[in-house]
Symmetry: C2
Subunit: 670 residues, 2 copies
């Protein structure tokens, strides 16, 4: 073959059939992520010049190099995008590429049907068809009977009448033979891409946060409080497990600094019996690898983890990389902190404000020493049975450090999960997710109106889902939004229902059940913040008196467990209502991915105005779950048990003072 006239770059990079924008994809060359069982929409832009038909395949390799081929379907929305959904079941690195090809038989059937019907080029179309069928019949990789059938069809077509030829071009069975094994030419491909599949809990879990020192804490006769211990906290495990949570997250369990310890409500001086903030890590008794003596011993901690496991709960530990002034690191490794010209160590600050109970770490003075020490701490807790870390303020440490730490840990322990507790601007939050964090806190707490929630849910389920998994905490010790402060019980139900159904990861901090809604004046956090004191709560009594949201949370978690559609992130779709406070979304999963014979569809309709009773019409894009518009179908309210016959336009009435949210299951689906 002759060569083309030479250019600087000898060849063109565009494949013969252009392929662009392959996804899933992550920014800056990082790998996109999935979790075991996640249904991933594999998408690519593919087109060709002219009218001939193309086909697109996804070639997928499991971590064990088992290859499979999946045919994509054109979205036909003018974007030239093609898609196929695949559930990735095995953890570890999968690879994939897209392959496009001229689909010669599809091109022929399309032209033949139109032209033969119009009496144009009948003989030519027959001859072209015979060529294709003969070529296919010679393909030694096809089963023998199929090859015979193709050869016979070629013969028939050669001498067919126009009517018979038309029937062959329109034959569904014949078309199926070519769909499974197309006659291709102009074969083109993208480069190979990688997608990291992590364990299911990385992507789908209900979290619960409690302070072990509060669970089982008791008031002494002198008015002081005796700390709870791992042993007393273990007594609360059945209650948390019964609510249906999957992960129990503990704030730092290490010795708490005595120097400059904060008192109740973040006051500057602590009394002798004030326990201090667990995030002021380290004291004479030890640092990040030690257990607070009030809670027990390392052995007690291991027993607690084991007991939690027995109850179906995984324990997540806090990783707060900062030190109280009396942390052992300070004396032993001043080079891990910022030293000032006067020989002191710099406090955490937001000039001119200073936080004198905390020294921030300086990652640039002895990076090797400090990186190695943090890795040692993480490995230490892994050896105690911990597999999940909730990382405090990761955005105040170098992104580069996290990339290194998470990759290093996951290389040895691929099942370890890191949750980024970063509340900051989008770029650093997305950066943390891209470099490796398995989960991320999100803006959810501050997205309360219908418009805000619509934008938020679309953003996390579509825009960033390839690399960022939002964990929708409804509250934290530091976040009690005005919506909750002033929204009454309705607000607590609304937020819990949307968090539990809007994303496969959500979280609740203890006290939410009791609708603790009194803020420290002028702040966005609970008064008498548990960070600085013990909390004595009587869970059982609250339930008895009907003052607890625990039954509602339990029901939400039951619904999540029963409905696989709710344990996916990317399958969210917004619908419409005529009321600016009625939010409508659905989550749908096709039958092949539900583990049953039926597809699973949940419709969530929430009145997000907690002070109102609203009625309106909701408009559903029922095609999202395969129901033709105008067709009636049955829905069951999974909270109340009511059953209604619905179509694509339905009246709803949502009373924020009783049941502000419908969680509807579409019944009778295949």
């Amino acid at each position: 073959m002759r060569a083309l006239p030479a250019t600087d770059a000898a060849d063109a990079q565009t494949p013969r059939i252009p392929l662009a924008d392959p996804s899933p994809a992550a920014p800056e060359g990082f790998h996109p992520k999935a979790f075991a069982g996640e249904v991933i929409p594999f998408r690519v832009v593919a087109f060709r010049e002219g009218h001939d038909r193309i086909g697109v395949h996804l070639r997928l390799r499991t971590p064990n190099h088992v290859e499979s081929l999946h045919r994509l379907v054109p979205l036909e929305d003018g974007t030239d995008r093609w898609q196929v959904d695949v559930a990735l079941d095995e953890t570890n690195a999968w690879t994939f590429r897209f392959e496009a090809f001229a689909d010669e038989f599809a091109t022929w059937t399309h032209a033949a049907e139109v032209k033969i019907a119009a009496g144009v080029d009948v003989a030519v179309m027959q001859a072209l068809g015979v060529q294709l069928l003969t070529r296919a019949s010679n393909d030694k990789e096809r089963p023998k009977p199929e090859r015979k059938h193709l050869a016979r069809t070629a013969e028939t077509l050669a001498s067919a009448t126009a009517e018979q030829a038309l029937a062959i071009a329109a034959d569904e069975e014949l078309a199926a033979l070519f769909r499974d094994r197309p006659l291709t030419s102009l074969d083109s491909a993208t480069g190979w891409q990688t997608i990291l599949v992590e364990r299911t809990l990385a992507g789908a879990a209900a979290w619960y946060e409690f302070f072990p020192r509060s669970e089982g804490a008791k008031r002494n006769e002198d008015g002081t409080i005796a700390s709870g211990t791992f042993a007393t906290a273990a007594e609360r495990l059945p209650g948390v497990a019964a609510m249906g949570f999957d992960v129990l997250y503990l704030p730092p369990i290490h010795p708490i600094g005595r120097l400059n310890r904060k008192g109740p409500n973040n006051t500057l001086t602590a009394g002798p019996s004030d326990p201090g903030s667990p995030w002021a890590v380290g004291a004479a008794k030890g640092g990040h690898d030690a257990v607070h003596p009030d809670l027990g011993t390392l052995a007690d901690f291991r027993a607690f983890v084991k007991e939690a496991e027995a109850q179906g709960l995984e324990v997540a530990l806090d990783l707060a990389l900062q030190a109280a002034p009396d942390h052992p690191w300070v004396a032993a490794h001043p080079e891990w902190f910022t030293e000032l010209p006067d020989g002191t160590i710099a406090y955490a600050e937001n000039p001119p404000k200073k936080y004198q109970d905390i020294y921030p770490l300086n990652f640039d003075r002895d990076p090797v020493g400090l990186y190695t020490e943090v890795l040692r701490v993480v490995e230490h807790w892994i050896s105690q049975g911990v597999r999940i870390f909730r990382v405090d303020n990761p955005h105040t440490k170098p992104l580069r450090f996290w990339e290194w730490l998470i990759r290093t840990v996951n290389t040895k322990h691929p099942d370890v999960i890191f949750l980024a507790e970063a509340f900051t601007r989008p770029a650093p939050m997305r950066g943390l997710a891209a470099v490796g964090f398995q989960q991320s806190y999100s803006y959810f707490t501050w997205r309360n109106t219908k418009a805000e929630l619509e934008e938020f849910l679309l953003s996390v389920s579509q825009e960033t889902a390839d690399y960022m998994r939002p964990n929708l905490f409804v509250n934290t010790p530091d976040i009690l939004t005005e919506y909750l402060q002033f929204g009454g019980p309705g607000a607590y139900r609304i937020r819990a229902a949307i968090a539990a159904t809007g994303a496969p990861l959500y979280g609740v901090y203890a006290g939410y059940e009791l609708m603790e809604n009194v803020a420290r004046p002028g702040s966005e956090e609970n008064v008498d913040n548990e960070k600085y004191e013990y909390k004595l709560r009587d869970w059982a009594k609250a339930e008895e008196e009907g003052r607890s949201l625990a039954p509602y949370l339990t029901r939400l978690n039951e619904i999540r467990r029963a409905h696989p559609a709710l344990r996916q992130l990317r399958n969210l779709r917004l619908h419409w209502s005529d009321d600016d406070a009625i939010l409508v979304f659905s989550k749908h999963l096709d039958a092949p991915f539900t583990g049953t014979d039926a597809s699973d569809t949940i419709i969530v309709i929430a009145n997000v105005d907690p002070h109102s009773v609203r009625q309106t019409t909701v408009h559903l894009d029922t095609l999202a779950w395969g129901v033709e518009p105008g067709t009636a179908f049955e829905v069951e309210d999974l909270v109340t048990g009511s059953v209604w016959t619905w179509t694509d336009h339905n009246f709803v009435r949502l009373d924020a003072f009783t049941e502000p949210v419908h969680i509807l299951h579409v019944k009778g689906q295949r």
Copy 2:
């Protein structure tokens, strides 16, 4: 230094200060483009953990490897984006990268100002300042007097009162020394990127299209028409030049097929004196490298090009890669076409419709042969003085072919420009631009309402501007939109004014001046389409009788030439009006880029409803051109000469029957 614990990837890819999303950038790894004189916003996302200040530099290398450093400014819009505008003057490949660093002096001044004022850490802040000033004074690359000044300031600071120290921290002159040459640490960088700078005409030009056979064509006594020639067409050149156009584009000038020639209005049979469509290229007299005998000889063509040049017009030739059935290629190279089983060659078709005057090329049967032949044709016309090609229907040929052709031609002839005449879906249109086309036809003709135009203008000036340059043709021989058919003279003014000011590239097909607005019934093109017949137009008489838009087009082109802001693509900004038919946008260029001492700002206000007189209030974001909201400034209407005093809110009245568009120049700007 100790090594970090090993991982599979020994190091992290994130730089110490994260840098992301560098732009300009093009999709799929292609290079972004600019034109000589284009002002490029170089942008990058950069942030760091914590509160310390960072700085960002653009390091830029000209094609001749001259390096310069440009300081970026944070946009401070919550996106962590930084930007600096640079005009790229030299053609060819530039390279650039972004560099981020901890800006230690800026961190110090910020903290010192806040803390010293609050009486916190005064001594420590002074000592830190002395350290920094001393370090800077030891920098041997600073001029001696500067080093002395820094050393003296360090001494002063060492023994200063708090008040004096505060003054030093706030000293603007001192800050300037560090802005020019910051004290950096944690230096980080992106990889090197490439941007291709093409000649100015690739990005800024007014195009005019005429059929040379019509210019100077004369009606014979028998009613037939004698074709115009290059010689008679040359007589029209002064008229086109006087209107201020830069590029004169000619439809194909080659022999036209006789076999199955189309007649008037695309009818199937041509009469003996019907000239046929120039896009049916090739006949016995020659193919793509020949000149139609009616027009003259190759020498006549060269003379025409030369004469155009003398008038300030560059000639653009059509490259229509298809063949009439009697094109010489057909007999000599049947392998460049699709041969059917019956031995015939396949016509162009949209089944069951056939276009029997055209054979499409098949690029897959003998790619080397056909690619080489097209390259030969292009080189042939380049040798005749052509430097611009308007490519007909490029989306019906392989993208890969265009990538190869354009790169091959531009490697030898970097000044050659290709305009893609593709009207199809966004993905292939963007693909053509990404692989190398210097210019692209756009959706402009079909964007007529205010909302459509706003979306369109934002899309082309922001979203795709890094690699796609839209040429806003107001009409073509194939496009006479309903807006023009029924909008009257107002419509013609509106569309011309928006095209000429909305983008630096726009185009007009002859006849627009005469507001030829009668369509072939049921179609979107002129009746008696010039593609199939000669057009006899009396330009002079129309002007004499005041029936011509030529004076308006002339004025538009004068305004474009006088205002460099209009010869940029990316500087468009939308503003607001209270009327849904009053479109408002501005184009601004800072003083350093105008070639004068003053910045240049144009505000365009168009009533896009051609059947109305509208009055409303327009609301301007005057900060876009450095004017504080509420401040009065003078504007001159460049069409009528009226001068008004405006502020950020102004009354306008636009009469579609007289002057539907204000093109305002902001006067008295620095």
